[in-house]
Amino acid sequence: MSTQTDNQLIFELSRPGRRAAAQAPRALPEERLSAIPQALRRKQRPALPEVSELQVVRHYTNLSTRNFAIDKQFYPLGSCTMKYNPRGANRAAMLPGFLGRHPLAPESHSQGYLACLFELQEFLKEVTGMQGVSLTPMAGAQGEFAGVAMIRAYHEARNDDARTEILIPEAAHGTNPATAVMCGYKVREVPVNKEGDVDLEALKAACGPQTAGLMMTNPSTCGVFERQIDGIAKAVHEAGGLLYYDGANLNAILGKVRPGDMGFDVIHMNLHKTFATPHGGGGPGAGPVGVSERLKPFLPTPIVGREEDGRYRWLDQHDLPQSIGHLSAFMGNAGVLLRAYFYARVLGREGMIRVGEYSTLAANYLLKRLEAIGCTPAYPARRASHEFILTFAKESKTLGVSAMDIAKRLLDYNQHAPTTYFPLLVPECFLIEPTETETKEALDEFVAAMESILAEARDNPELLKGAPYSQPVRRLDDVKAARELDLVWSNV
């Protein structure tokens, strides 16, 4: 009944000669372009849409409403820390003085911005227990890259060049092995035991002169705290390797345990998780790296330094000749860093500690409530960290209902689905992370939805397989998407 335009593409709205005229500068006489050789000129205008301003506003406003978002729904995606993104951070980062600053503006015209960044560096050192921080990586994965590249640079600087392997627990996030390979390493997976801890004996066996380092997160992606962290650190360090901390799960321990104190040599943080900057439907993020003393010379540039007289300046290759270098054209996702700075200032010391506490409280509460209605925890003997894993292996076997079916059905209850099928080692799993910013009522509603869905799964499993029913589209055909690639619109 709703009209055709609903999900038309912007290209379908186009009509030759239509324009959003207020946005276009006046056309110039062709002779003002005479300096550009005709041979280099485009023959035909690109087929961008020709639409009015109202059409654009209406199209993208309506499109946006076809999204779930933290601002609208509970969004308990495990490992993603979908907490409230303060609107105040957005306003502060969008101040004209910040938005208009050219990245290469002279330091004389950058002291305000540099002051924020310098302080953010200091705050991150303090909460992680590391000795140096560079804010430049543009997402978690680039932070990982920077971290592993520093490990490599460290070994190379010591001419310790037999180290060709990075150890990674099998539960790790996909970016970990992908990063190791991008840094020229081979990946060796380390098994995880039934309780979600690393198999320490296997790890010890894997360590050796070929070991460049170990990448892990703690609490791990199993949603539990790795209790043998001391033993792990010892094993790796004794083999001459370094310890990398994937900070995606930092939210769980913020203010409670510091990676630096656990023996990690290098860490990246996902500010778009722990520091509440928005995900924007896929990005941008920011993945600052922190390092122990011995890795400081290798930090990626630029970094903000403070002079004796209190003035701030960029530290670059001149100051850090051993740096792994520049990872972007300028210095990373400044606007994200400013949002994180805002958040850090509002939280302050006490607030940071509360993040770890209340995110852990919420996860353990939700776990217990879900267990009580019949869900199966993957690690029933363990405390949850800020997230936890359920497995629907039983439901899958007995009812033919998969974790994906349950996930899709949750959308009909106006609940975003948790992360599904990750980590890979737990079959038919949900990784659930409620965060500290959701009310108890929101958690209870999720439990109620799950309870209702489990009943549906018993009474009418077909219902779940057809889900969702309430969204703009029913379940999508991923196989067709990959087989019959349709990646750009063609009018024909």
């Binding site: 999204n67 003085g97 050192k125 520049h326 300028f330 606007g335 805002f342 500690i353 009310t439």
Partner: protein, 452 residues
Amino acid sequence: MPFIPHTSDDVQAMLAAIGADSIEDLFDEIPAHLKAGALAGLPEGLSEMEVTALMAARARQDAGALCFLGAGAYEHHIPAAVWEIATRGEYYTAYTPYQAEASQGTLQTIYEFQTLMARLTGMDASNASVYDGASGLAEAVLMALRANRKSKSGRVLMPEAVNPRYRQAVAAICENQNVELVSVPFNTAEGTTPVAALADHAGEDFAALVIAQPNFFGALEDVDALTDWAHAQGMLVIALVNPTALALLTPPGEWGEKGADIVIGEAQPLGIPLSSGGPYCGFMCCKQQHIRQMPGRIIGRTVDLEGRPGFTLTLQAREQHIRRSKATSNICTNQGLAMTAATIYLSLLGPEGLEAVAAHSHANTQDLVARLSAIDGVSLAFASPTFHEAVLRLPKPASEVLPKLAERGIIGGYDLGLDFPALADCVLVCATETRIADDIDLYATVLAEVLA
């Protein structure tokens, strides 16, 4: 407790459900000696009002200069609608669209972005963004190495006229995989990279040639000749382009006989604010045959159970969350929101509008160059045609002149001596459609005084 909703009643009820006495109990699996102290190095928390006032004062400190810097980041007019829509909660606070049915807004927006970029560049396919132009160029180099199956050398030709910051990032990212970036000098009279400069490398094994259009000096390369030369040598062509310029210039898909193979660029000029360098948005396009070597997220159009069209992540077997160590890249989070802004921007500008922006930028830069080179001792450094940047030679080192301009509120351009010792008396200047005649006059007046 900023942002935490729990009342003490809530906390008691939650602990009771858990069966714990205190929140601290929940951390009982953590070895006691590892527990953190008081975080004494952090300040007390402040209210939104206090932090806003603090940041507003700092933002004001940095504002107000008149800027003629380009060098990879360009100040264009951004229609108000762009960010008023992009910061709607539905776009701003959604995650990566893993649950496709609940993310059609973001997914369709990406599909439209892919189409826009493919049309602008003349290529077959696009991804959903990479971090920025510089890191994206590194991804393009790695992609070319995978895609050019015939080449075994791990070597890529990298002209010196490519933005030095881009070259640095490519080096930092690629050298871990033993990629060798071989420099190609530029012609010091023209500021371009003629085919002649490549002649030495004829017959050698390179996976790809990078061609920047316009190059770092704003100069326009003979892209057809370069492309054909590279293809004749069995190299792939990586085009590094400015998206605004593409409204006027031949799209990479039409360079030479066969067109470029991979296109990379910085989408920042398309509605993304300068914002101190980020978040920006790398865009990446390629020919159909290379699509499976593309890094990053790609959206495909498909149908749902009822046959209605819809959008979903596709070709995920290239990505880290499926393929782990065998992925084409480790990229996960990308620049989604900036991509959304670029999509809205291009829709608002349309073909004529984008062309007018490009034309005004070109014309204003022409005017700027004419005004400034009329000053005694100032001259154009290179003879080549340019798009919206140009190199001026000053009678003094740029490092002396630019600070004096800055004192008078003018950010006069980029000091090329930072990267090219031979160009220590040269500045790279830029004027987009936002630098109007009055601005240009003011620059000319102040520069004349500073040089006098």
